[in-house]
């Protein structure tokens, strides 16, 4: 386990100490745990999505998720191929703009 010295502004240090006291009641290691949690959250891969994916078969919704890994997992677990189902992307847009505005 490493020991690192860092400089924090007075304001952030105060917030950190208050949070450590609130969560761990002044026990040793509280500050380290919060800093470690914050660093892990900052450094881990962040997964985002701007769409909802809906798996549809014969007009029936089978599954939906914002995560394409979950869609792939659902298809695999249910032995479904992309030829068997439709994957709808929501919200569905039928027009996009590309290029300068004010022409159309």
């Amino acid at each position: 386990m490493g020991v690192i010295t860092v400089k924090l502004s007075d304001h952030v240090e105060e917030l950190l100490r208050k949070e450590a006291f609130r969560r761990f009641g002044g026990k040793r290691g509280g500050i380290s745990r919060i800093v470690e949690e914050a660093l892990v959250a900052l450094l881990q891969k962040k997964k985002e999505s701007v769409r909802l994916y809906r798996v549809v078969m014969d007009g029936k919704t089978l599954f939906e998720s914002r995560d394409l890994d979950q869609i792939a997992e659902f298809l695999r677990k249910n032995n479904l191929s992309l030829r068997d189902v439709r994957v709808l992307i929501l919200p569905s847009r039928d027009k996009y703009r590309l290029g300068p505005r004010g022409v159309h």
Binding site: K46, V50, R66, R83, I89, D94, L98, V103
Partner: protein
């Protein structure tokens, strides 16, 4: 944890693309440059060749309205990967006959903090910081 942008005839960001539904990635190794285009109000435009390589099955058709004309495009699911930022974003991509480059639009940029220095032809990209945390730390 900033990522340097490239400047040529515009600002470009190194990315990779994948289709988790087919397990394909483009490029297979490394990254490809995508043009940052605030004039495109969608997520991503890719050439038809890359659409095919990623084995994307189109979900629907859409119209892309440009300066001179309107083109019909096919739209399918895609994952944008920006490894140096540890960021992946699931979205959609459009492709049409004649699409020659990868274009990152406004919807994809909603997950990035961009700083452009037009004076020096430089730029950086970062992941968005969540607003509530930023407010808590810097009131």
């Amino acid at each position: 944890m900033s990522l340097e942008l490239y400047f040529y005839d515009g600002y470009y960001i190194p990315i990779a693309l994948s289709n988790p539904l087919s397990g394909r990635r483009y490029p297979e190794r490394g990254e490809v440059l995508a043009l940052i285009d605030t004039g495109f109000d969608g997520f991503l435009v890719i050439p038809q060749e890359i659409f095919g390589l990623l084995d994307i099955i189109p979900s629907r058709e859409a119209t892309i309205i440009g300066v001179c004309c309107e083109v019909k495009s096919e739209v399918g699911p895609i994952r944008l990967i920006i490894d140096p930022l540890n960021l992946i974003v699931d979205g959609e991509c459009a492709t049409y006959r004649g699409a020659r480059e990868i274009i990152l639009g406004i919807e994809a940029l909603s997950k990035l903090k961009l700083m452009l220095d037009g004076c020096r032809h430089k730029g950086t990209a970062d992941r968005c910081m969540s607003v509530p945390e930023a407010v808590k730390v810097f009131p």
